[in-house]
Amino acid sequence: MNVYIMTDMEGISGINREEQCKSESDEWRRSLPLMEAEFNAAIAGAATGGARRIVLNDAHGGGENIRLAEMDSRAEYERPLGGGNMMPALLDGKFEIGFHIGAHAMSGTQDAFLDHTQDSVNWHNYWVNGEKWGELAQFAAYMGHFDVPLVLVTGDEAACAEARALLGKDVETVAVKIGLGRRHARCLAPSVAHEKVQEAAARALRQKDRIKPFKVKLPAEVVVEFNSTSTADNVAALPGIERVDARTVKKIAQSARELVGW
């Protein structure tokens, strides 16, 4: 069985200050071992559960969040392709299941640590076919595009609740922290969190058939409401974008690949 692991930083245990998520800051550098250990716990759990091939996509801030020498050698490493292509490179191999480790809740979620969708400065709300979405739904839809079910989500309690609401109660979730407002969190001890993540990863492989791939209905209507009219001015100048109001733009996505990006 081949496992694809999407990752983010906000939902990693031990991360409880915004500065820790700012790439290249001192706080971020000090936090790298927390991320590496939690990613490794997921890799170890997948391996224990019988995974043959494991690929880890280091997605926070475009990648480079772990030191490769510290990564469990049973996994392969990749980072997002960039250049507006948000879709992970799932095509290059056949995968049966997906994980999302370190997830955060969608923009506008109360008591969620660093809730945001895509871009915490500019994005206010994001809808697909009239449903409010976060990054979790995007990843689930990317995986679903290749018929890969998202079977395990770890992060704060709000991200886990979002995963259950989106994917059903059978999705494996591990809440490693609870948001106390947007900028504070109460965390499990990282060692306890790693144990739980590893167990859940192994269990998720055994129960993979309980979760169906998440399919977005296409063509999909994608609406983004920005915080500032300036951002909408710039985006509305691009081809295929319709202006809904001062701060809102709309486009039609013909494929799951087009759910994000202009």
């Binding site: 109360q110 206010h124 947007r182 915080n227 009219t229 109001d245």
Partner: protein, 261 residues
């Protein structure tokens, strides 16, 4: 004695046509400061021509200190806004207020620098169930003292907003937005006569304009751009959390319009 109170913002000043010209302490802002004086002086001269005997000018842009005093008409008194004291020196003794350099509220299409109070943290401000911008706030605040909004200068969107809020207000559109960060403006020297004559007319026919009234008690609500700003505002006494990013407060006095947000 006839007194006029002038609130000054920067986004709607003639000649200001780039977002960066409104960012305090930048070279672009320094270049634009004399145009504030030119628009303000035009309004001041109109008020005096119409018989005003005292004119107070309040600098309400960002943290203040935008008016180049050496260029300002020496007949005026100058003051700065402070926190929720939107118009510190206003009282029942004023015949009317002007807003010079106004911009439209957050979320207005085709408006130069649309925002309400804080462009980083405020997404939408609602007064008595209706969206309200800074023009409405100032008009309502002055209305508490039975003082009407007589004249507004700014971009075309700000003028439309003022006319909606206060029917009959004198509105002088000195520019039009191209997008949020760029505008097409008339020259500051061309704005002088327009503003001065609108100011003079508005003071002469002051009796035709009603002060803006807010039925009390009422409600005010801010939807923030991020949850963390609502986390903070929701902790203050009297705040009610409406949803993740929205906080509501009871409004007992129009002087407390933005207090606690």
């Amino acid at each position: 004695m006839k007194r006029i109170y002038i609130v000054v913002d920067m986004e709607g000043i003639s000649g200001v046509r780039l977002a960066e010209q409104c960012a305090c302490d930048t070279p672009a802002w320094r270049e634009a400061r004399p145009w504030i004086a030119s628009d303000v002086n035009a309004a001041v001269s109109g008020a005096f021509s119409a018989g005003a005997e005292e004119v107070v000018v309040c600098d309400a842009h960002a943290r203040g200190n935008n008016l180049p005093l050496d260029l300002i008409d020496p007949r005026v008194l100058l003051e700065e806004a402070f926190e929720h004291q939107l118009l510190p020196g206003i009282s029942e003794e004023f015949a009317g207020i002007f807003v010079v350099g106004a911009h439209a509220r957050a979320g207005t299409p085709a408006a130069f620098q649309d925002h309400t109070w804080n462009q980083e943290s405020w997404y939408r401000f609602t007064l008595a169930g209706d969206q309200c911008g800074e023009i409405g706030m100032w008009a309502a605040y002055a209305g508490h003292f039975s003082v009407p909004l007589l004249m507004v200068t700014g971009d075309a969107a700000a003028c439309r907003e003022a006319e909606d809020f206060v029917p009959g207000v004198q509105a002088v559109a000195v520019k039009e937005a191209i997008c949020r960060d760029r505008a097409r403006t008339i020259h500051p020297r061309a704005a002088v006569n327009l503003i001065a004559s609108a100011a003079e007319q508005s003071v002469k026919r002051v009796s035709g304009i009603e002060p803006a009234r807010v039925d009390l008690p009422n409600e005010v609500e801010v939807e923030y751009t991020k949850t963390e700003f609502a986390d903070e505002a929701a902790r203050r006494i009297g705040a009610e959390r409406v949803d993740s990013r929205t906080v509501k407060r009871e409004l007992g006095s129009t002087l407390d319009l933005i207090k606690g947000f």
